[in-house]
Amino acid sequence: MLVAGVDVGSTATKAALLDENKRVLALALVDTGANVVRAAERAFRAALAEARVEDWDVTYTVGTGYGRYRVPFGDAQVTEIGCHAKGASFLFPATRTILDMGGQDTKAIRIGDGADVQDFCMNDKCAAGTGRFLEAAAEVLGLKLEELGEVATQSKKPMKITNVCTVFVEQEIVMHLARGCPVEDILAGLHWTIAGRSIGLLRRVGLEPEITFTGGVARNAGVVRALEERLATKLNVAPQSQHIGAIGAALFAWERAAHGEVGKRANGAAPRPEAAGGGN
């Protein structure tokens, strides 16, 4: 029995395939781009290819993320809050608080013993404290996103960044650079700021150990470090941090399949993606 989860985010779409023992067979990631439906299909196909299986082998598929209703082959939809809770709990059974920093929003989730969502809080109005913030900063500093964490660790004296707006922070960075402030100090300051925004969210839901950090930004060692320093505690970070939503979705699919539910694809009744209102 195979199950799938597809997480359609604003920047990236992720897919996960699990087997009947909840083993992760494949993880895939594609740029979402302008066509959400095609992105979902591409991510799904990439995962199938990696696992060397066909779509009719998949018993059940759950869609999540902002684009979850645009996954035509999805058999059910669960919010990414629910999926992150599920996924993080699966990888770190002792976790009770989850911080997810995605491309354009940040969520703090508190869960109970059964990975059930007790409370959640989102920063979805403002890009500061999200991946976009770092992207904008990276561009101004002429660095690649992947380099940011490494460079920041060289900082001896983090520069205080006061602007909370992603648009205006660029101005602020340029000003600091003009004054000769070292790049690593600016970066460390930015990481500190991002961490601060998230901590506000975490406090709102209540900080209960262990804390798991998920989402694309979790791959930035500088942000992880800033958070750990400010929270005075270690965070769980998985190598699959970007796929936790998709894994969680796949786990929800697993539950349904285990209860005997069968999805459209396995039935052979799924619509072909091109026919299902392919354009956006």
Binding site: C126, T162, Q171, G196, I199, G200, L201, R203, R204
Partner: protein, 394 residues
């Protein structure tokens, strides 16, 4: 440390010694005062205007609180107050939640605006064991309003007695009024000298000297101001190309002192402002004889400056601003208000319309207490100064 200002021998030294008093939000001098006066209480006053005479008469040290001034990271307060409000509300709560104000025994919040009003409720729930008092300033300027406010002050007097153990007697109150009148007179004198010669009495310096009074007992601040007047008299008067400006909007959340220096460097000689206006709230001394609470009530309703947060009654804010501009021979007005400050934002629309009719130049910008970068404000101020110096009749 408390006496260090006494040892200052020059204006600059005095300003330097006063700076931490005026700006350190953890209030170390207040903590020191408490340690030296263990039986007495500290009553924090959220801006803008609070009848500090009453607190002093009850034996407490009234302290004017101006939030975090950018010195604290908002960490806990975010989960109680959302982001589309002025920083001072959040930073004030943060200072309490983070434990920086353990030496502040009580909090008095006047009715400034809805944010301040609601903040008092949030404060109360988060610090249930602490003294919190919300003071309603009547907006109906009449005998009924005066009577009501007198009742408010009486209620505050009683509650303060529960906190300090001393009921402020009428005599103590009259004496306190006298002391605070003296303080206002000294501040008034300082500001008048500035209006006559702003180059000699820079605003950023006056700000700090006045600000020291936020944390000092009034008698001490009076001595400080007397010293300042004496030291300031003999300062040189450098000549510079500047325009005389009136600043409005900064009556509650304060800009960083650096911003004031930026304005002065850009060529703005501030001849009138509403910074920390609470300590200069009366237009004339409050009566020192008679029933003191009635004197205070009358003064607060009928004889105060015009701000965005108290009703002008029969007076007009527009006329008031125009009169100030004329009286100080100002060339223009700078509206400088904190981001998200509703009262200031509403007022400035009408005030600007009045200035426009009169043909008085003005410019407007927003600040935040925690800002550290002033480039765009500098540019705006320089442009404003240039436009007046080079393109208009002086």
């Amino acid at each position: 440390m408390e006496n260090s200002w006494e040892e200052a021998r020059s204006w600059d030294e005095l300003v330097e010694r006063c700076t931490p008093l005026a700006t350190d939000v953890t209030l170390p001098s207040v903590a020191a005062w408490k340690a030296a006066n263990p039986q007495r209480k500290v009553v924090g006053c959220f801006p803008v205007y609070t009848p500090q005479e009453l607190m002093a008469a009850a034996g407490a040290l009234p302290v004017s609180l101006f939030g975090g001034r950018g010195q604290v990271e908002i960490d806990h307060a975010d989960s109680r107050i959302q982001s589309f409000v002025c920083s001072i509300a959040r930073s004030t709560l943060e200072l309490g939640l983070a434990g920086h104000w353990k030496h502040v025994d009580g909090m008095v919040v006047p009715s400034i605006c809805d944010v301040a009003r609601n903040l008092s409720g949030v404060w109360q729930r988060n610090f249930p064991e602490r003294f919190t008092f919300y003071l309603h300033l009547p907006q109906n300027v009449s005998a009924a309003g005066v009577a009501y406010y007198r009742g408010e002050l009486e209620r505050l007097r009683q509650r303060l007695a529960e906190l300090t153990g001393a009921l402020a007697s009428d005599d103590a109150l009259r004496q306190s009024i006298r002391l605070f009148n003296r303080n206002r007179a000294l501040l008034g004198e300082l500001y008048q000298r500035r209006a006559r010669g702003p180059e000699q009495w820079p605003t950023a310096d006056l700000y700090v000297l006045a600000g020291a009074g936020n944390v000092l007992p009034r008698e001490e601040h009076n001595r400080l101001l007397e010293k300042a007047l004496a030291l300031g008299e003999t300062r040189p008067r450098p000549k510079r190309d500047s325009v005389r400006v009136v600043v409005r909007g900064a009556f509650c959340e304060q800009p960083p002192v650096e911003l004031l220096r930026v304005l002065e460097e850009a060529g703005c000689a501030v001849v009138d402002d509403d910074l920390q206006i609470g300590s200069r709230f009366f237009l004339e001394p409050a009566p020192e004889d008679g029933e003191p609470l009635t004197s205070l009530a009358e003064a607060y309703l009928k004889r105060t400056v015009l701000t965005a947060v108290n009703t002008p009654g029969p007076r007009s804010r527009n006329e008031g601003l125009l009169a100030t501009v004329a009286a100080t021979a100002a060339h223009g007005v700078i509206f400088a208000s904190p981001k998200f400050c509703e009262p200031a934002l509403y007022d400035s629309v009408l005030l600007k319309q009045a200035l426009e009719k009169r043909g008085t130049p003005f410019t407007e910008f927003e600040y935040e207490e925690k800002m550290t970068v002033f480039e765009s404000i500098r540019m705006q101020a320089e442009t404003f100064v240039e436009s007046i110096l080079f393109f208009s009749e002086k």
